[in-house]
């Protein structure tokens, strides 16, 4: 079995605001193995970015607060780690690339220098060695003329190049886990395709575990090995890419996939929209969070949160429909 890099158990994260406690993450259990891409998909506000930031403890605490749960990252207990310990872990064991590469780089420092900085912080290398290493990193992400490019400033790079440089920087200390938070959302499709190919290539070459956060199911289908679908602060379904796209069993996953037009959708078909909007996490519903928008909703869905049901090997979903005692659709009078 491959090495487990990250193991999150029943994580709860809340934000204390003037309006009250916003329960952004409400019990997330996840794991990622070496050399595997886990995609976390969901709508904005479903808690996918908060989960990722909590792994690196990047969200300011307060207002954020880890209510309960454990995060085990390559043997480090993240929940208990203090800021000093986190500084050693960030960059070395886990690093992150963000949606907008322009705001994440120092505009007044040469790109090469920024990478050297990270390398010298975590690895015992001389300045010349670190410089050579930085150029190797830029080369690894297919930046042409890395020697000259390393002396340029971020504004001299195009959007796609900047994202490559960010990836180079993130990988410069051989992290065990790379978190990519919407890495292609700000890019054009042709550039997005270049970055997606790069991620797949790097995964095969350096065997890092990658968490890919996105709302684009097309990107997921092209890059991910496993998928976790999040809704209102919870993972509602998790499984391999094949499980999620072809054998999905949570009504939210099904509705999400159906709401997208595929290249084969004809003009006569109407898109199956999901009615309503996601719930307010200031006062999350008592039962299943998706119940109000679900066309299979039963009485129990409104009263009690569904536990996790195993659907297959490594494939599970949280939905009362999967309960062994759940009556068949006809008996429930299900219209769906």
């Amino acid at each position: 079995m491959a090495n487990r890099v990250l193991d999150i158990q029943d994580l709860h994260v809340s934000f204390d605001t003037y309006a009250g406690e916003v329960k952004a993450v409400r019990g997330v259990t996840l794991h990622v193995d070496e050399g595997e891409v886990l995609a976390i998909v969901g709508e904005s506000g479903c808690g996918k970015s908060v989960t990722a930031q909590t792994i690196m403890k990047l969200n300011p605490m307060p207002p954020a607060r880890i209510v309960s749960g454990t995060i085990d990252l390559a043997g480090h207990d993240i929940v208990k780690a203090n800021e000093r310990a986190m500084q050693k872990i960030r960059g070395k064991d886990v690093s992150m690339i963000f949606q907008d590469p322009m705001t994440c780089m120092n505009p007044t420092t040469q790109v090469g220098k920024q990478i050297v900085e990270a390398i010298k912080l975590h690895r015992k290398l001389s300045h010349a060695e670190a410089k050579a290493e930085a150029i190797r990193c830029l080369k690894q992400v297919n930046i042409p003329n890395p020697e000259e490019r390393s002396k340029q400033y971020p504004h001299e790079y195009s959007g796609g190049m900047r994202q490559r440089a960010m990836i180079a920087m993130a990988l410069s200390c051989d992290p065990k886990l790379l978190i990519a938070d919407e890495p292609t959302t700000a890019l054009d499709v042709t550039i997005q395709a270049q970055i997606m190919d790069l991620l797949v290539e790097l995964k095969e070459k350096i065997n890092t575990a990658i968490i890919l956060i996105t709302h684009d199911l097309g990107v997921v289908a092209g890059v991910a090995d496993r998928v976790a679908v999040m809704y209102a602060g919870k993972v509602v379904e998790t499984g391999t890419v094949q499980d999620i796209f072809y054998r999905n069993s949570h009504p939210y996953t099904q509705a999400l996939l159906k709401s997208l037009p595929s290249p084969d959708t004809t003009k006569e078909e109407t898109l199956t929209a999901i009615p309503g909007t996601p719930p307010d996490l200031l006062s999350p519903p008592v039962g299943c969070a998706f119940a109000a928008r679900c066309k299979h909703c039963m009485q129990i869905c409104l009263e009690e949160q569904p536990p996790e049901f195993q659907v297959g090997e490594g494939h599970s979903a949280c939905c009362w429909l999967l309960h062994p005692d759940c009556p068949p659709a006809e008996e429930r009078g299900d219209q769906g």
Partner: protein, 323 residues
Amino acid sequence: MSQEVLIRAEGICKYFKVSGGRTLHAVEDVTLDIHRGETLGLVGESGCGKSTLGRTMMGIYTPTKGKLIYNGEALDLHSKKDRFRFAKKAQIVFQDPYASLDSRMTVGSIIEEGMVIHDMYDAKGRQKRVEELLDTVGLNREHANRFPHEFSGGQRQRIGIARALAIEPEFIVCDEPISALDVSIQAQVINLLRKLQKEMGLTYLFIAHDLNIVKYISDRIAVMYLGSVVELATSDELYSHTLHPYSKALLSAVPIPDPDKEAQKSRQIISGDVPSPINKPKGCSFCTRCPVACDKCRESVPPLQEVRPGHFVACHLVQPGQV
């Protein structure tokens, strides 16, 4: 669908002056017909001029060169009177529903404003019309007294659509109306736009960069690159017989939400980035990234010509008769 041309852009150019006395060529010599009742999709990467073209075609920008012909009548966009008249026929739905609604006005007054300007109905009639419009776009009548911040992104976009519909336009420019919305909400707005088109016979210019959605909603699609239209065809034709090298790369770059198809698909990656519209390459604008560019492409600009019935391509290597 009728073949009657509702709006025709003829040789439209739109340049912007930028610092250092340079000129940004946002839209370069675009000639485009939009038929009554159809949806024309406009796709391309950011900075290719699709929004500028959209805004020029509804009169927000005055074209540097070229003219607009509406219903067979040339518009003088420098005359205030013509512009005012045209504004009654053409409306726009913006991308960002957070920035495009005045946060200090109630939803009712936002929707009503256009009718006041164009002197439609009396106060009572306008109020009735606002209520009807809220019904039409799937909001409650009571929402008229609320402010935009009280609504979610999808609901705001519905308000934006109601505002555009208020003065009964014939032509609506949808400038990336769903890009800022969540996946589960996008389908709601798309279905609404299609329903309205069917009921009111509207004509859409639909600007987007999500090619799967554009294919679904459009009758015809125009692909833009660096200010020019490089390919124009019906959406089925464009997807089944893609001819321009840029369109081919663009279409193959779109990720399909289906892992098996993604794995089988041969993706044609084009290297490099879009050149700057301030300093355009000589000849074909795509020649710097084109995998099949030849000497001719670097020297002269290929014209947009009909190579198959209803299928226009601007490429030296795709000539009528060869296809």
